[in-house]
């Protein structure tokens, strides 16, 4: 974060104004309109880097249940990362990590559209992109930028961990509730299947 980059608002506004084609349904099997692999290849080209076919193959989604949301976030990231202020400042490996691994992790608990519609989420994604490019937001000192990025990213990690724990506990409670004697006895229906 030695170098000053664009104002944070430039990237958050870019997210807010994500064009409709980047929010289209990712192509999965025979369904959807956005070819994510091609979009990622375009981003790499815009950064002047390339990746082997194996690295790109991962973006070829097959399972709508698991991949619809992460790949939609990949599309949103593709739009964000092609901001002129970021171009050429992120290497191929880091780009692929953001577009695949980070997208998967963030989309595990949050709907991708939230990173367009929600203030906090937009800031999180914008700071992540700047950090990956080694930039700090214009007007922020290095220390302040680092502190804020750490706060945003650790807050997210804490939130994800807490959500995961809460989900496991809730599932356990549901399984217990369904196994109670009264639940097993069920209740009156005038016909049974």
């Amino acid at each position: 974060m030695n170098t000053e980059g664009p104002p944070l608002e430039q990237l958050t506004r870019r997210l807010l104004e994500t064009p409709t084609p980047f929010l289209g349904e990712p192509r999965i099997g025979t369904h959807g309109s956005v070819h994510v692999t091609a979009l990622v290849a375009d981003v790499l080209a815009a950064f002047g880097v390339s990746a082997g076919p194996d690295a790109l193959k991962r973006f070829d989604a097959r399972d709508r249940t698991k991949e619809r949301n992460p790949r939609l976030l990949t599309q949103i990231l593709c739009w964000l990362l092609t901001d002129p202020s970021l171009r050429g400042k992120i290497g191929a490996d880091e780009l692929l990590r953001l577009l695949f691994d980070e997208a998967n992790a963030l989309a595990a608990q949050v709907a991708a559209r939230e990173f367009v519609d929600n203030d906090e989420r937009r800031e999180e994604l914008a700071r992540m992109a700047l950090s990956s490019a080694g930039l700090r937001p214009a007007g922020e000192s290095r220390n302040v930028a680092e502190d804020r990025w750490l706060a945003v990213s650790s807050r997210e990690r804490t939130r994800l961990a807490a959500a995961s724990r809460a989900a496991e506990e809730r599932a356990r409670q549901i399984r217990e509730a369904l196994a109670r004697k009264a639940a097993e006895e069920s209740a009156d229906k005038w016909s049974r299947e």
Binding site: E25, R64, A112, I174, D188, K189
Partner: protein
Amino acid sequence: MDPSMSPEDADRYPGLTPAGAQMLEWMREHPHAPIYRNASGHRLLPDELPGIQAFAAEVRRAEVDPRADLTQPWLREYIAQALARVPHYRRYGSPPDQLADLPTLTRGDLARDVAQFVPDDQPLDRLINFRTTGLTGQPLLIASHPLVAARYLAFHQRALARFGIELTSGPGDVGVMLVGWQQRCFTYVSVTPQRGECGLAKINLHECDWRDPADRGPYIDALRPELMTGDPLSLAALLGIEFDHQPRAIMSTSMALLPGLRAALAQRFDCPVLDLYSLNEAGPIAVFDPALDAHVLLQTQMAVEIVNAAGDPVAEGERGEIALTGGFNFCLPLLRYRTGDHASLERRDGEWVLAGLAGRAPVRFRTGSGEWINNIDVTHALKPFALPQYALLQRADGGLEFDVHSHHGADLDAVDAALRGLFGAEASLQIAAHPEPCDKVVQYRSELADGAVG
């Protein structure tokens, strides 16, 4: 409320009046009564009854439009809520522009962990369950609620109204008798508070549940239920019992009701015989109307798609698998749930119907001693083994082929013993185990001439 009532009974029948208690006792203690082996109840709180009646009135008058079209406000809201509040659906991400953008859901998804389908804000203290194995042989536990169970009646009434039947049973009457015909059957008595605590009796026609099998006819004649419901195998067994009572309607569920059996029931009881397409996962979906030669859809907030193997909607009027979105079980919201049943969605005489519905056919099996048994008895016998998926075929020579899929560690010797316990020690039985699950398993099949019912 009777102060001597046990806490369990107080939960089963909240707000029970002395007249309701008398009805329970009369059905249970009648000299011809069967051996009631279980207990259950409506579990409805008195302050829930007006809501149930309002729901029934709404179901009665609302128009059914099953098109999976997001211009329907209820459907858009339903999807948004499910994506926000249900753990499994949350992974799908944001609301789509069209329903078909979302993945389809299979019975296997529900079977893996039903907890992932219960909304985050659903209180758990009154959760109940319904168990089923259905067409594919995958055991399934459905999360439900007493209100959901009570709402079935609203759809029954809508279905009955098509045939000119308005239920009249009230205080002092028996409203419904659910008949089973199984070696093992969950049997009990209850009352229905939204209909003046009229009686509900769930009985097993199998001889093993009666002190004297000759009591069956007199018991039915004593209770005089307004409605009788059951699966086709149980209704076929009803034809073999002598009694005079004629219910106002008969309702067949669980499996396809074949025309021969429908005709025999209609002739014997001189009343409408309704073939209800109903799933534990979604409740009553449609009722067969001979005038339209199709099943007329019943639910007002249920989108129906017909999809191909890839889960994409087929062209209008084309045949495919029925996929459901919506429904009235608020403990188990469904988004594009593939039922495993096939039909086409059409409009006939201004009404939406499932045409050519091919559901689960009833099958009975012949034991070594020549006795016929219900496929449900096979299901019960195999319950202890938690087999993820299986199929049983009885060949024309009476021999049995049993296939287990995805069986990881199941004790197949014990399965063999359980099946021989049912069919006889000398039964010709071949068990084949396959490590992988199978997408399309027809759970019960018979090549015997009398194996199919109807």
